[in-house]
Amino acid sequence: MIPDLTRKLDRVFNPKVIAVVGDKKANGYSWLKSLIHFTGKLYSVQIDENEIPGIVELGVTNVKSLMDIPEPVDFVVCAVPRKVLPRVLEDCIRKEVGGVTAFTSGFAETDEEGKRLQQQIAERATAAGLPLIGPNCMGIFRPKLGIRHGVDQYYGETGPVGVVAQSGGQATFITTGARANGLRASKSVSFGNAAVLEAADFLEYLGQDEETKAIAMYIEGVRDGRRFFRTLRQVAPRKPVIIWRGGQTEDGARAARSHTGSLASSMAIWDAVARQCGAIRADTLDDVLDYLKAMVFIKPSTGDRVGLISMSGGQAVVTADAFARAGLRVPALTERSYTELAGFFNVIGGSYRNPLDVSWNFDSTDLAQRLLTILQNDENIDAVSMELGVGAMQRRWRRDPAFAEGLLDYLVRYKEESPKPFFITLFPGKWEAEALEIREKLQERGLATYPSFQRSANAYRRLVDYHRAHAREA
């Protein structure tokens, strides 16, 4: 354990000065390029004369040693070979840097010598109280300050999502995938072999971080399961924690051992951990992103009775199936609602039990508005979900853009004003580009959409489970 870790991680995640040690041409100067938009001062440390011109060309100041940097260094990225790493760490300790990411691989995930070296650097960093992230990892992503671990990541924005991932690849996929779904990251970290800092440390940190409203984790194994369990039990009631566990199968577990040197507990045990703590278990990247969207965009609820609006009879059947399969209820509406519906719902081929099948007869936003208002006021319904047909929508767009925009405006307003959870299924079919356009318009204004009924239903199920878990008595 590193003493005073919260304050130290605050410094690491909010640096004024960053140094990259050992970036080189063979690596495409990837670290320096990823950090080129950093809002503070960036240094490179490189002794190889052949590498220096390329670094200078990027506009980055190069020095021969960490000790030559004329100001305090808050965060260091180490991309040196494994036998050099201990020496660089000694410089970091002498320089009293805020924290270090060790990108270097070849430790516990490879051989006995690697295990021994990892043990050695872990002991040294721990003794010095140095927050060491890794080795064998990509470190931190702090888009607000332009700190990235890959050039595909974004910068200059921030949001509510915190990410804790053992794998740098998964940290990248989760953060960029979430961004594509309208969710920006506050802080993200990949921590590889977890020689010093591990999942529980970052979970605890993001748990108390005010910028972070929901946490997504990708974990292959935890070192101190007891501590992870205790930490998760404390953090999950405060903010949703989604756990995607890598190495669920025997084949996956074998891959995890050679990836991050992690030992796997059985899935049944991880299930128990998630249930006990009221965390949300995910099995795929899609799950992670779907559940994140639900937890951030959809209003909290413990109610499992869903009112559904579909665009055709067949869709009405399968949407009801999807929600029921997720263990949600699709109940009949109140008599009052049916009386009201009978007054205007004269769609040929349409029907209005639940789901309400409108057979795409939205002549004006008026019909949508009336249906959604009835569901909002219906006492048998806790949440409202609606299908938006992309084909019909894009045809209307061409014919009558004002109508299409007006409908989307209304849906966003309804989401904001209705006390009930509201989310949309937007099945792209052959209109991928059009669906994306509609999705982006909605998600930028905080309205969640899903590409299938089942994914809508599964995500809402997790939301209900999460809020129920934290409403239960001890």
């Binding site: 399961g225 299930d271 951990v273 006990q276």
Partner: protein, 235 residues
């Protein structure tokens, strides 16, 4: 025997397997209801204890070297007379002597046959990452074939116990099917909580099996118990 004396005795003899009599003493003191089980060293003692507890009784071999008693012919059930008890004692001794001649035999445990009810199992094991884990399931094929069990990490809260009982697919069996009465689910939850407390208090317990626990409409009782200790006391 108190908890500490049971554990001390095992430790001083460098044993990791507790006998059934010791296991039950440990559990009883932890607040887990167990079927009263007493040690008989001779056939005469066995007969006397059987009379005291009341027929029908079960006899089981007591040895720190035998974990699976029925595999070595060490269990006789439903004994209704003094004569049957005496014969069962001799049969058990003979069977164990021939199948596991090197086992240290302390005697035979005499216990009254529990009346029939719904059989469940409660277990405790250690996960390499998460430490002690409590398991619950219905007995027999439910656990062996269908793997219909639930787990929780120690320490359990009351709600964890409540949820793990309800989580198994066979839960309706406990609620009563085919005209059977519902069993005392709160009593099962209590056992799970007591096992969790025991695991917290005694980290040297590596494994614990209550198989079966018989659940009734009023209460539940562990009929058999097996406790395994860590080789070296964990810090």
């Amino acid at each position: 025997m108190s908890q500490t004396s049971v554990l001390d005795a095992a430790r001083s003899e460098k044993r990791t397997l507790l006998t059934e009599v010791e296991s039950k003493a440990l559990l009883r003191e932890a607040g887990v209801p167990v079927v009263d089980t007493r040690l008989a060293r001779t056939r005469e003692e066995a007969a006397a204890l059987a009379k005291q507890t009341g027929y029908p009784v079960a006899l089981k071999i007591v040895s720190p070297d035998i974990a699976h008693k029925s595999d070595v012919g060490g269990v006789k059930l439903n004994l209704r007379t003094e004569k049957q008890v005496a014969k069962a004692f001799d049969d058990i001794m003979k069977a164990v002597q021939s199948r596991q001649p090197n086992a240290r035999v302390q005697g035979v445990a005499v216990q009254t046959m529990a009346r029939p009810g719904v059989e469940v199992i409660v277990g405790l094991s250690k996960d390499a990452q998460f430490g002690p884990v409590v398991m619950f399931g219905l007995g027999g094929i439910f656990v062996e074939v269908l793997k219909d069990v639930s787990f929780r990490i120690v320490p359990l809260l009351r709600r964890d116990a409540r949820e793990m009982v309800r989580e198994i697919k066979g839960f309706p069996v406990l609620q009563g099917v085919r005209g059977q009465e519902a069993v005392d689910i709160a009593a099962l939850e209590d056992i799970l909580l007591k096992v969790s407390e025991l695991a917290e208090r005694h980290p040297e317990v590596r494994e614990l099996d209550l198989n079966p626990v018989i659940a009734y409409k009023d209460g539940a009782v562990a009929v058999d118990a097996r406790v395994v200790l860590e080789g070296e006391t964990p810090s």
